[in-house]
């Protein structure tokens, strides 16, 4: 198919020497490099590109930029399908595939266009008034129907195959927008040597200069743009960023920017991201984002072929694309006339300029080439899938029908003030241009230049851009002169505000969401008069274009209806992002396996070699169990590991436990204050269990503290709380007792640590620890610790502590020897049957012994509940002591940690079951506690569990129930001591 609406007189910023082939809804078309999808489709005579959200009205592009509400397509296919993509910004590439969306069965014949016929009933907010009967129908009938009809494009439902990156940039001056203001600012700041970033959302820098026929000095603007860009590109201190949208102004000069690295390519280059999210730290920023032309509302103003007047001429000037061969313009300002002149120059047939102003610039058709109808209004249009005629009411009240395939509409221009509002500032109404301009209280460090500040002439934009750069750099103490600027047009703005044509038909404000003037009137009638109510009730401005072309008109109509001036009706808040941002970009590389870092223990490689199964424990990967050939169920493996540990010796990597070195002459005093139990008198060479409370009296963490020297302790924490305990200790040290002589350092990563547990533990360690250390029970009893050497001189730390209840040690070596030590232990213990055990067996061992862990220390537990109430020393002021005295913390009937054993040994127990008295009905009021941890105990020969039970310490021997309605189980259990193994502690002291 030929490009029937390509303007053949040449010109434009497309490369006509190359032809690109693409498809839209399965049909093949041609375009050129430099085209957008929209410009190429228009050049091919295609005006119909989409359907509206509610009424499924046929739609073509309204704009030539990112404010586009209508021309949304699904771009690309397969897993790369990208819904709701603006045809007006999508760069054409060879092989591009686009499909229209939100229509069935086809774009031309859309069954849901029936909604348009029913529009009388589907007015703003109609759904709040119906669909209420019968009640059950909402989820079953109404909502599914609405959901199916609503929505726009389709997700592929496949994982996004592309990569996204994040980056950080720092600069003196961030310039947002590379139109005349931005370029003048960049020249000025760049020549001054400042670090400058110039970012623009377009793939071609130059802004509005690319779309206009202005001359700068005496040449075409494009010459000046090209020369300027060449100079800027050569500056080492300036970074030009095309295809980069600055989407938000965040606190303290942090800007978010999205660079579309590969959206103009069929797919990203190998090892390159599709997009990059830049976090820009800018000392100053200058917003040169231009302005958006706003439409005028009139009956049936939404047909394909009706565009912003500026877009109509942009398509012609920049892309050589005529929307139609015969065009008309409807305007309330002089800028609309510029469109007529430009199109005429390009050889198009300009049917008329319909100017709402009775005093419109006159001109005889013979002299200027087209007819001007002053004081006239477009009152209706015709053309089912594209504009064919407009009906005009002339100043004298007469009616005329004008045949045309395109209508350019200009209701004036709205400065792109969005980013000035991102931190709560409100824009200010400027009557002379009938638009909002940046107000006071802009984000600190941000200023505005050019059209974005309401200065619409080219000369004004250039001047303000240069001056803005000078001022911003002066703020930073950098002196500079404004760049010499070219001569440019300096036309004043002449506009007479005109928002909508009165009449019967539906006149669209928000084209995507189908909000019409009537909807605004209805909202007013029903009391939704504040801007926020208006938006929410009618969905005005909630579409993918964020109301960039719609909100102003609606606001003006509400002002009319309420009889208030526009600024009193208010403005809506603009929030980031300026244009929508792909979720993939915001996530960057943090997805799939790389969602969070993976911490590996020193024995990880060894464990992998053994075929271990790993489990995520926070960011750590820990060996869960070590299956052996022939074991078909994880329970077999775990039971074996538990038995081996209890009968011989087991080894477990416990490096993940937090380790904190505490040094200083006040180290003991410090620990005495952060643990609720006494620490001041712990002897050198001894370890003590410590319970740490939060200041509100709840158990925070538990662990051990080993006193290696008078002024040196090693504290351990649980794996889960390693970071927060250290943070808390630093808080205490710096904020509560800044003059204590104590220093802290986290050594979790510095030491590899293994638990060696079981009757043969001493024998095994005897082969590892150098002979200088006497490991006998007398010399190195339970709760002893020492700095030792192992394997012939390697420094190590040895602690005789036990989590399993067995004779046990923990041995630590510098992390880089962790792998070697694991191998040495396993080799040395071979004849003892040394067995590596994972977190599952660790869990079983500690439940058998009745040691609390994460399920018990869940942030809701007191020392009393754990049976450690007497540990909380009343003789000292340690963290949490005072508020821990509140007995209601334990619950209405004090909860206590108990052991539980099924009456019928074959019954399973699960954590999360609730505890109830026998015979009590299944009701919340009868819940007396819950099972915290459960496991099968090879030692006991049945399931066992720990739990918190109301008044539990006085109920030993009682038969109660563990009820688990979720799983449909209800098991009789006996309340027992939580110490299923060696309650007297003889084994661990052996």
């Amino acid at each position: 198919m030929s490009q029937i609406n390509r303007i053949n007189s040449g010109g434009g910023l497309i490369d006509r020497s190359k032809t690109l082939s693409f498809t839209f809804d399965g049909r093949t078309y041609q375009g050129h490099p430099g085209d957008t999808l929209a410009s190429a489709l228009l050049a091919n005579g295609v005006r119909l590109m989409g359907r509206s959200f509610k009424y499924h009205r046929p739609r073509g592009p309204l704009s030539a930029g990112s404010e586009e509400p209508n021309a949304l397509v699904e771009l690309r296919a397969g897993a790369r399908r990208e819904p709701n993509t603006r045809a007006t910004t999508a760069e054409l590439f060879d092989g591009l595939q686009a499909d229209s969306q939100n229509r069935w069965p086809s774009l031309r014949f859309d069954a849901l266009a029936i909604n348009d016929r029913l529009s009388n009933f589907l007015t703003a907010g109609f759904y709040y008034k119906t669909f209420m009967w019968p009640r059950a129908f909402w989820e079953k009938v109404y909502e599914p129907t609405i959901r199916h009809a609503a929505g726009l494009g389709r997700l592929s439902m496949q994982d996004d195959p592309d990569a996204y990156d994040k980056g950080f940039l720092h600069c003196d001056l961030l310039i947002v927008g590379a139109g005349p203001a931005g370029l003048a600012a960049a020249l000025t700041a760049g020549r001054a040597g400042a670090q400058v970033i110039l970012a623009d959302e377009d793939f071609r820098l130059g802004g509005r200069l690319n779309a206009e026929t202005f001359t700068l000095d005496d040449g075409p603007a494009s010459d000046w743009v090209a020369a300027t860009l060449a100079e800027l590109a050569a500056m080492p201190n300036l970074r030009l960023m095309a295809r980069t949208t600055v989407v938000g102004a965040f606190d303290h000069g942090v800007y978010g920017a999205v660079e579309r690295v590969a959206d103009h390519l069929p797919e990203p280059e190998v090892d390159k991201p599709r997009q990059i999210l830049w976090r820009v730290y800018a000392r100053r920023a200058l917003l040169c984002a231009g302005a958006t032309e706003r439409p005028i509302a009139f009956a049936n103003n939404d047909r394909p072929g009706i565009l912003q007047a500026g877009a109509l001429r942009a398509y012609a000037n920049r892309w050589g694309a005529a929307v139609a061969r015969r065009v008309a313009v409807f305007t309330n300002n002089d800028d609309g006339h510029r469109t007529a002149r430009d199109l005429l120059t390009l050889g198009l047939d300009v049917a008329a300029v319909i100017d709402t102003r009775p005093d419109a610039p006159p001109g005889a058709p013979q002299a200027i080439g087209y007819e001007v109808l002053p004081g006239a209004q477009v009152i209706d249009t015709a053309g089912r899938l594209g504009l064919s005629d407009v009906t005009v009411r002339t100043a004298d009240g007469g009616m005329r029908t004008i045949s045309c395939g395109a209508l350019g509409v200009s209701g004036g221009w709205n400065p792109a003030v969005h980013m000035t509002c991102h931190q709560g500032a409100r824009p200010r109404w400027e009557e002379s241009i009938a638009a909002f301009v940046p107000g006071a209280d802009l984000p600190p460090g941000l200023s505005v230049a050019g059209a974005a500040s309401g200065t619409f002439s080219t000369a004004g934009a250039l001047r303000e851009g240069a001056a803005g750069a000078v001022a911003a750099l002066a703020d930073l103490g950098i002196d500079c002169q404004p760049a010499a600027l070219p001569r440019a047009e300096d036309a004043p703005v002449t506009i007479t505000a005109f928002w909508h044509v009165n009449g019967k038909g539906r006149a669209w404000l928000d084209q995507q969401n189908d909000v019409t003037v009537k909807d605004v009137k209805l909202a007013h009638q029903e009391g939704f008069r504040s801007v926020e109510h208006l938006k929410r009730y009618t969905t005005l401005g909630m579409a993918t274009d964020q109301g960039k072309t719609a909100n102003m008109g609606a606001l003006a109509i509400m002002a009319e209806l309420t009889g208030k001036p526009i600024p009193e009706v208010g403005t809506t808040m603009f929030r980031p992002p300026y244009t929508p941002v792909s979720l993939g970009t915001l996530a960057g590389r943090s997805r799939d396996e790389d969602f969070r870092p993976r911490r590996l223990t020193p024995s990880h490689r060894w464990a992998e070699e053994q075929g271990a199964v790993f489990v995520e424990v926070g960011n750590w990967m820990r060996a869960q169990y070590f299956p052996r050939p022939g074991e078909t169920h994880w329970r077999q493996t775990v039971d074996r590991e538990v038995r081996a540990t209890r009968s011989a010796v087991g080894v477990c990597d416990v490096t993940t436990l937090g380790k904190i070195d505490v040094q200083g002459t006040d180290a003991a005093t410090f620990l005495n204050r952060i643990y609720c139990n006494a620490f001041a008198k712990l002897a050198v060479g001894k370890v003590r269990y410590g319970l740490m409370l939060r200041e509100d009296g709840i158990a925070k963490d538990d662990g051990t503290a080993a006193r290696l020297a008078e002024d040196h302790f090693v504290v351990t924490t649980t794996t889960a709380n390693a970071v927060t305990v250290f943070r808390h200790m630093e808080f205490c040290r710096q904020c509560l007792w800044p003059d204590l002589d104590v220093q802290l350092i986290s050594t979790t990563e510095a030491w590899a640590q293994y638990s060696v547990a079981g009757p043969r533990a001493r024998a095994l360690l005897g082969r590892i620890v150098d002979p200088a250390t006497d490991l006998s029970n007398e010399a190195f009893p339970f709760m002893a610790c020492a700095e030792v050497t192992v394997c012939g001189g390697l420094r190590a730390r040895l602690f005789r502590i036990s989590f399993s209840g067995e004779l046990a040690y923990e041995i630590a070596v510098p992390t880089r020897y962790g792998d070697a030590l694991m191998r040495a232990l396993m080799t040395a213990g071979e004849d003892f049957g040394v067995t590596a055990y994972g977190t599952e067996a660790l869990g079983v061992l500690r439940i058998e012994k009745g040691h609390p862990a994460g399920n018990e220390l869940n942030g809701q537990t007191t020392a009393r509940m754990l049976g450690m109430g007497s540990m909380v020393s009343a003789k000292k002021d340690s963290i949490g002591t005072v508020l821990s005295r509140r007995e209601d913390l334990d619950g209405p009937e004090p909860l206590r940690l108990v052991g539980l054993r099924p009456v019928n040994a074959a019954d399973p127990l699960v954590a999360g079951a609730h505890l109830m008295a026998q015979g009590a009905p299944l009701a919340a009021g009868n819940s007396q506690g819950w099972v915290t941890s459960a496991a099968f105990s090879p030692h006991v020969g049945s399931a066992i569990a720990l739990g918190f039970l109301a008044l539990g310490d006085s109920r030993k021997g009682e038969i109660i129930r563990a009820v688990n309605p979720l799983g449909g189980t209800d098991v009789a259990v006996e309340v027992v001591s939580p110490h299923f193994v060696d309650p007297e502690g003889e084994k661990l002291r052996a």
Partner: protein, 95 residues
């Protein structure tokens, strides 16, 4: 946000962990007669001002300093940042 660290200069707030009102420095005496009331107020009650707020930030991904940052909770403007240990001493805390 960017926090002007008194020792390290401007640092991204993401390097820090937030705790809350700097009144947490003023921990009451746990051995005092009225300690239950004092700790109730200390642990639970907050001024929660709309405006200037002195608050504790911990430079966890940095030098591990606790800072007292004075920040406007309405505008997020930061007026100053000081070492919490200095503030603690000024407020009479020592050993």
């Amino acid at each position: 946000m960017i926090i002007p660290h008194p020792l390290l200069g401007p640092r991204d707030a993401q390097e820090f962990v937030y705790l809350g009102d700097a009144c947490l420095i003023d921990r009451p005496d746990g051995m005092a007669e009225d300690s239950a009331d004092a700790f109730h107020d200390y642990v639970y009650m907050r001024d929660n001002p709309a405006g200037e707020h002195r608050e504790l930030w911990y430079h966890e991904q940095g030098d591990r300093s606790w800072l007292v940052v004075t920040r406007d909770t309405v505008t997020h403007r930061i007026l100053r940042a000081e070492l919490a240990s200095d503030i603690a001493r000024q407020r009479g805390r020592g050993r």
